[in-house]
Symmetry: C2
Subunit: 249 residues, 2 copies
């Protein structure tokens, strides 16, 4: 498999949003990205970043920085494909910074946890901003509700890791035996520091489930000898390869 990390721009939140109840008062800029996987079954994209127009309209206080080159169509083209080549989208969950590019992928089946779809359509009051971008739910979207751990293609496994949201998934990519598997934990924890200390984000649906999911991704990483990829850590992001550079596993 070839794997590209697609840069979809940055946002700013408070440190206490990253490490629940800790560090209030310090703004932190953090990255968002999608993961493009070229697989023998087709082109797959895990998460699609945020839509700049939506954030400017609904959450301008998160100070978005996203160039045209950091939109999903531009990033997919950077890897030598067209947006219409993407056959399958998996959304780890339906928060606005993970679904913003869905609407640009007309040919894709969109796999999302079944409870997550229901929650995205009818969320708790405290989740309203998280689920504020509903464009994933457009009429032509080919939503495929999934549940439980599932292997969506050989070597592409999704693991249930709820807590941050009700139907949150992490993705494990397993390639050639001599390569390190890649584990994308999405928003189980945002940063290396919070991963190491086991601190979930201030945004969450079920913090007890969140504690279990942090342990789960640590166990998965150990069991599969996988490299962990953090979603919202600017320092870690700086150490990853960005499209058009890629990983081969």
């Amino acid at each position: 498999m070839r794997v590209w990390l697609l840069d979809t721009g940055t946002l700013v939140i408070d440190q206490s949003h990253i490490t629940w109840n800790q560090g209030a008062g310090t703004p932190v800029r953090f990255p968002t990205y999608g993961v493009l996987v070229e697989h023998e079954d087709g082109l797959l994209l895990f998460d699609t970043g945020y839509d700049l127009e939506h954030v400017n309209e609904v959450l301008p206080f998160e100070l978005p920085e996203q160039e045209v080159s950091q939109t999903i169509p531009a990033q997919v083209e950077l890897c030598g494909f067209a947006a219409s080549d993407v056959a399958m989208v998996v959304n780890s969950h339906l928060h606005f910074d993970h679904v913003g590019g869905n609407k640009h992928l007309p040919a894709a089946e969109v796999l999302v946890d079944a409870r997550e779809i229901a929650q995205g359509r009818n969320c708790e009051p405290f989740e309203a901003l998280g689920y504020s971008d509903r464009t994933w739910d457009h009429g032509a979207a080919r939503l495929v509700p999934i549940s439980g751990d599932v292997e969506v293609a050989p070597g592409v496994r999704l693991f249930e890791t709820p807590g941050h949201t009700i139907g949150h998934y992490s993705m494990l990519l397993t390639g050639a035996p001599d390569s390190r598997p890649m584990l994308f934990i999405a928003d189980v924890t945002y940063t290396q520091d919070s991963y190491d200390r086991g601190v979930q984000a201030g945004f969450h649906h079920d913090p007890v489930a969140g504690v279990r999911s942090i342990q789960r991704v640590k166990d998965l990483a150990a069991e599969h000898r996988a490299d962990i990829f953090l979603t919202h850590d600017l320092e870690a992001w700086g150490t990853y390869r960005h499209a058009p550079e890629h990983y081969t596993i």
Copy 2:
């Protein structure tokens, strides 16, 4: 019934701890207090404030301000009783700022939600500071686990309002027909602002349950035409009668 609010001093937390994920970076000083009820069945105390020595040792960053006159024994004496006269303690929940005076009440039965007792003894990692004062669990404590809505004495009713913690109770006092019932919502919401807007505290065990409990206390207040008493709102606290002044209902 005669009802006294016992001043047990103040603490400082961040605004985002009071209004979950909102207002990060602004420190807020807030009151803590107990509710002493002189009832024909005996003297009852709902919550017992914090222990200064404990906070100075474990949470000094909450900048406690508590005079000797603001300890539970001193406050109970201010109302004309001795600490040993208190026959029943009810803890809304077992966080340190609601149980600190328990150890000074040797004669009391101590009513606490059964799940709350288990949680206080073996909590989630994110609850460790909240449950850090374990002196309520001393060997001589006469703990009485309770569950469900319960009338602990005529006119003294406890209502399950979980979310902030797993076994959180609110207390409704109903007196003479021509008096307004008093509803003590403990930590369902901390302030008038967060009550009005339906925003729970950043400290919580189950935020979905928390949303339901906010609605529940609002429904209870409407049904019983009760006055709401907020626990951690310095401005509201300034409008209440403080011991030795009392309410008669």
